[in-house]
Amino acid sequence: MRDLTPLRDLTSQVLPPPLEDLDRVATQRQRRRTGALAFAAAVVVVVVSVAGAALGSREAAPLPVVPPPTSVSLSPTETTAPAEDPFEGADVGQLSPDEIRNHPDAKRSPAQEGGSQPPKGIAARIWSVCLIERCDPAQVENTTSQLVRALEMTGDGYLTSSLFPLPRGASVQYVIDDQFLVEFYGGDASGRVLLDASGAARSLSIGAATPVTAISGPPTWTGTGAGVNWIDLASSTLHPVEGNGRWEIEPAQEDWYWGVIYFAGHDELTLSKQGVIWRNADGTFGVRLFDMVFGGHSTQMLRAGNPGTMAVVDQGPPRLLHISTDYGVTWETRVLPRDLRGGDGRLPTDWRDLAVAP
């Protein structure tokens, strides 16, 4: 069938990444998996008295009394009041964050892998100290009696920074501005804490699921199985989005927050709903779903570089450009010719010359 030949010819253009890069990913994934399995086993066998013995001569401070762990419900329909200590009940180890960072054996690593990337200057990193003779990350990643960790966050490229304890089983995710979300699922305690680089911390409770169009705070992904969630900053509540975890968000990675939001179709290869999510100049959020002809495939975002301007291409046919230049107050649709692809991901400067869609 000669008609597919042009696709076959694309093979010569594909540039594989070095195999070593994939090997590195394979190793890191294996380490995480092994660490998680080791943690699950450790939950069963850890005896507190062993921790003291294991510290040996390398401990930097006397052991504090560790409060008994508490449980936080993960049910998306229940609401739990935020605790005064955002990490209350979490296993944060025997050293303070300062002691961890200043420890002569402290090691530094990036705080998050994948997901949204923060703007320049905003960053988070993890300091860790092994409290036994040798820590094998594959075995003790989540065991704070052996490996303690602290999270350092900055909003100015580490000219100044804030330190937080990082509980056992915690993961870190960039949210928005200089805020990161820490989720921990260690032992008998679990929870989620929103931190900002200035040092503020607040625990988030779980609220009721909302329709996607009701999102009015920064979206996140969580491990609760609910997929996309959003944070109501006024009430410190994390709301799942209705739809059994099949909503997904792709930020545009511009200097202001906007992105596409879409819902997976039942065939798992196509999308059944798509739209745009953005943050207004006053900090509130907006969502607009499009009535699209797209045939189930993902839209393309075109960056304009102007706060308030969002442009997405519905691949059609016909190809349509949905655009707003006023933070989603008004929208218009233009017909995008096939030869105008926006391949560099930028909105053509002469887009106003395009025909208005009927």
């Binding site: 696709l7 694309l10 253009q13 990913v25 997901g115 993961s171 491990g223 993902s298």
Partner: protein, 169 residues
């Protein structure tokens, strides 16, 4: 041959081919490359077994295909917890024929899209596709006929009748 050499050999021979096949299925170079890279990551995690496979490219294609199918359902959790693959190194230069073909492929049902890619891009015989998908040979033939018909209609070209459905040896 050493295990790592075998993986590298398959990588160099199959990566680009698999990316084009996955791209024909999903319409996105980024999604296609991530799916294929994920498949190779899985291969690297079990490199000994992979090195002993008789048809490693078929195994990689199945893994990549599953990755595409599961992309939307598990994307949030995966993105959240899993170390990410690097993705594409450069964008493909698509001309109007490529865009036209990809858009025409999008109009096919997923089942039809899959058989046409396996047969006409991956060069799999009907009997092999039937085995791979666990579907009777007749069903594959029927799907190929429908797929070619729909594709021709989408492209606005006459149906190519010069080739038998079993055309690939």
């Amino acid at each position: 041959m050493a295990v790592d050499e075998r993986v590298r050999e398959v990588y160099e021979a199959s990566y680009s081919r698999l990316v084009v096949q996955m791209m024909a299925l999903c319409g996105s170079q980024a999604d296609a490359e991530e799916a294929v890279q994920d498949a190779f990551v899985q291969a690297l995690r079990r490199r000994r077994q992979f090195a002993e496979m008789a048809y490693p490219e078929a195994w990689l294609r199945t893994v990549a295909l599953n990755r595409l199918r599961n992309k939307w359902r598990h994307a949030a959790v995966v993105r959240r917890f899993q170390v990410q693959v690097p993705g594409p190194r450069s964008s493909l230069e698509l001309d109007e024929h490529h865009v036209e073909l990809i858009e025409a492929m999008r109009q096919l049902d997923p089942d039809l899209r899959l058989v046409i890619v396996l047969h006409h891009l991956a060069d799999r015989r009907v009997t092999d596709i039937a085995l791979e998908l666990g579907v009777p040979t007749g069903t594959i033939k029927s799907r190929l006929v429908r797929a070619r018909s729909q594709l021709a209609a989408a492209l606005g070209t006459p149906i190519d009748t010069t080739e038998e459905v079993e055309g690939h040896a």
